[in-house]
């Protein structure tokens, strides 16, 4: 029983990180129909940048802040202007292909140009354990879960409570009406790219102590985030949170009770079930086909 609680908590912590990446992913999809196959690399790059800042002597949080600024410029603005804006006119596939190419380029550029090794990364939290109701629980899991939840819920609150956030939602729902209503659409779209970049940095901060900083660390993370996003509902960022948590917990339980070797297949099984029975995702709304 105590074991179960520990597994659940660790699963929630991992799942919350998937959720952060998945939220960024659904935001890009909603406002601009961008599907970013380099999402995992968008987490890997900030991890290395933080390490870079720290070798120059910056403390962890300062390195994080600096990385966020650079990420908003490069992974937010640069990505939008350089790739998304010119390609989205041609539909969805060119951007999918281009981000696939981008992910191959980033990953191999990192391997060839910087290093193929895995680097340890300092954790925000202590690695001590404490016991609650007879169960041993790690501070790192609790801390990661709380941070990630705060981030995702904070993003939600920003989207639903502030004027800017509501304008962004309006753009996501109907770009043309939003333009007519005087919303600065390109600016709102840029905001989602910026938020995506910051969320990626935060995910890097939380996940790298576990995964270690390595050129291919983004590969499985990016894929889990896609699956989480679809399971929860592609057109709903609350769904991304739910999907992330479900995937994280299911994976951890399956690894403990079914087969550790097939842990990575859990997300796929859930995904197949969801598209068989509820293709729009658990919380998603059905999208009518446009002729």
């Amino acid at each position: 029983m105590s074991n179960l609680l520990d597994l659940l908590l660790a699963g929630l912590a991992t799942g919350a990180i998937y959720a952060i990446v998945a939220v960024g992913f659904t935001l890009l999809w909603q406002t601009s129909q961008t599907i970013n196959f380099a999402q995992g690399e968008f987490v890997m790059l900030p991890a290395f940048m933080m390490l870079g800042f720290m070798t120059m002597g910056a403390p962890l949080l300062l390195a994080f802040a600096g990385t966020c600024v650079v990420a908003v410029v490069v992974l937010g603005w640069g990505f939008k202007r350089g790739l998304a804006d010119p390609l989205l006119r041609f539909g969805m596939m060119p951007i999918v292909v281009a981000t696939l190419g981008l992910s191959i380029a980033i990953r191999n550029g990192m391997r060839a140009g910087i290093s193929a090794q895995a680097y340890p990364f300092p954790s925000l939290f202590t690695d001590r354990l404490f016991s609650v109701a007879g169960a041993t629980v790690s501070w790192a899991d609790v801390g990661t879960l709380l941070c990630a939840l705060a981030l995702v819920l904070g993003t939600q609150a920003f989207l639903s409570r502030t004027v800017t956030g509501r304008a962004m939602q309006a753009v996501a729902q109907n770009t043309e009406s939003a333009t007519v209503l005087g919303i600065d659409v390109p600016r709102m779209v840029f905001y989602t790219f910026a938020i995506n970049a910051v969320l990626a940095c935060a995910a890097a901060l939380l996940v790298t102590p576990v995964y270690l900083a390595k050129f291919d660390m983004g590969e499985s993370l990016g894929m889990k985030a896609f699956f989480a996003a679809i399971i929860g509902g592609f057109n709903n960022s609350r769904g991304a949170l739910l999907g992330g948590l479900i995937v994280g917990v299911a994976e951890n339980l399956a690894a403990a009770y079914v087969s550790a070797a097939y842990k990575d297949a859990v997300a796929l099984v859930l995904f197949m079930l969801v598209i068989l029975f509820k293709p729009q995702g658990l919380l998603g709304k059905k999208e009518e086909r446009k002729v």
Binding site: L87, V96, L100, G101, I104, D264, P279, R289
Partner: protein, 330 residues
């Protein structure tokens, strides 16, 4: 003259494919065979992606299923000639089974479903040691005999792969020109219109996907006998991405796109093995730039030049007419 050009090109290409390998060392012959194996696999993917417009990101899984089917059956003492049809049938059936749920929901879902399928297949290859040998793989896979002639030699096997490529290429050529193939293209260009004209969208997309999978299975079977040692790594998701990019780079929907795409995607990096990571970096960047400037692939260059020439000719004609009209008083 313009009509003859493709025929002449084809004859030259055939002469090169037949005549050059005997002059190469065995590694060169191996590379040519390796390239042709990928040409077969990406031909299948081109049918799925380029002609039928389905986004499949799990082609390497079928490639792997073909390779492992043949390797396991040959290890169990059966002939390659039993393994090959079993691999083809297996890929076809699995393609149908995977495509059915994924194609119920359009567009990007198939991409994710195939992607996940690829991960699952890779996990099976890695974990089920009793069947696949796990990470140790399966080694000493024999090469087949054809009509009593041994294909053990690098050159003999190369000609065998070349012959298979030609046959499969001819079949595909026939397929895309048949009413079936036209239905595929109609689906890609406008699924709703195709549906209203009586094309059974689901059946056709499913079929295009499954036939593409069969091509990958054949390629996998040939691959197993070519490299004679298989392990899970070449069938991971990364290979599926590369195959997809090969189709896109060559030009999706162009019959010879895969020939060019596979050359850029596997022939060059094998050649430049010493710089592989940098090669992949450059390849990735090149894909991005290609999407920005030439979204229809390398083989769209002639079409594009022709379109530009026609546009220029048309505007010159318009200008001439306009000036003629202004000169003659009415």
């Amino acid at each position: 003259m313009m009509k003859r050009l493709p025929l002449v090109g084809l004859a030259v290409a055939l002469a090169v494919l037949l005549g050059v390998p005997p002059l190469l060392k065995s590694y060169g012959v191996y590379l040519f065979s390796y390239w042709l194996v990928f040409v077969i696999a990406t031909m299948g993917l081109n049918l799925t992606v380029g002609y039928a417009g389905q986004k499949s990101l799990g082609h390497a899984a079928f490639f792997g299923i073909g390779a492992y089917t043949v390797a396991i059956l040959m290890k169990a003492g059966f002939s390659f000639w039993l393994g090959l049809p079993v691999a083809m049938l297996g890929c076809f059936v699995i393609g149908l089974a995977l495509g059915f749920p994924a194609l119920r929901v359009q567009s990007i879902y198939l991409a994710f479903a195939t992607l996940g399928f690829n991960v699952a297949v890779w996990l099976v290859m890695r974990n089920e040691e009793w069947l696949t040998g796990g990470t140790f793989g399966i080694n000493n896979i024999a090469r087949p005999k054809l009509f009593g002639v041994s294909l053990d030699g690098a050159l003999a096997y190369y000609y065998f792969v070349l012959a298979v490529t030609m046959v499969l290429g001819a079949l595909l050529w026939g397929l895309v020109r048949s009413p079936w193939g036209k239905a595929f293209k109609a689906l890609r260009d406008n699924p709703i219109r195709a549906e209203s004209l009586g094309v059974d969208v689901q059946a056709y997309t499913l079929l295009a996907f499954a036939i593409g999978a069969v091509y990958a299975g054949v390629a996998g079977a040939l691959f197993a006998s070519l490299v004679q040692f298989i392990e899970p790594a070449p069938f991971a998701v990364g290979t599926s991405f590369m195959m997809y990019l090969m189709v896109v780079v060559g030009g999706p929907g162009y019959f010879f796109g895969p020939v060019l795409g596979a050359a850029v995607g596997v022939l060059l990096p094998e050649w430049l093995r010493f710089a592989q990571a940098w090669y992949l970096f450059v390849f990735g960047i090149a894909v991005v730039l290609l999407m920005l400037w030439l979204p229809d692939g390398l083989l769209s260059i002639p079409d594009r030049l022709r379109a530009r020439r026609q546009a220029r000719a048309a505007s010159a004609l318009r200008a001439a007419r306009a000036s003629a009209a202004s000169e003659s008083p009415t």
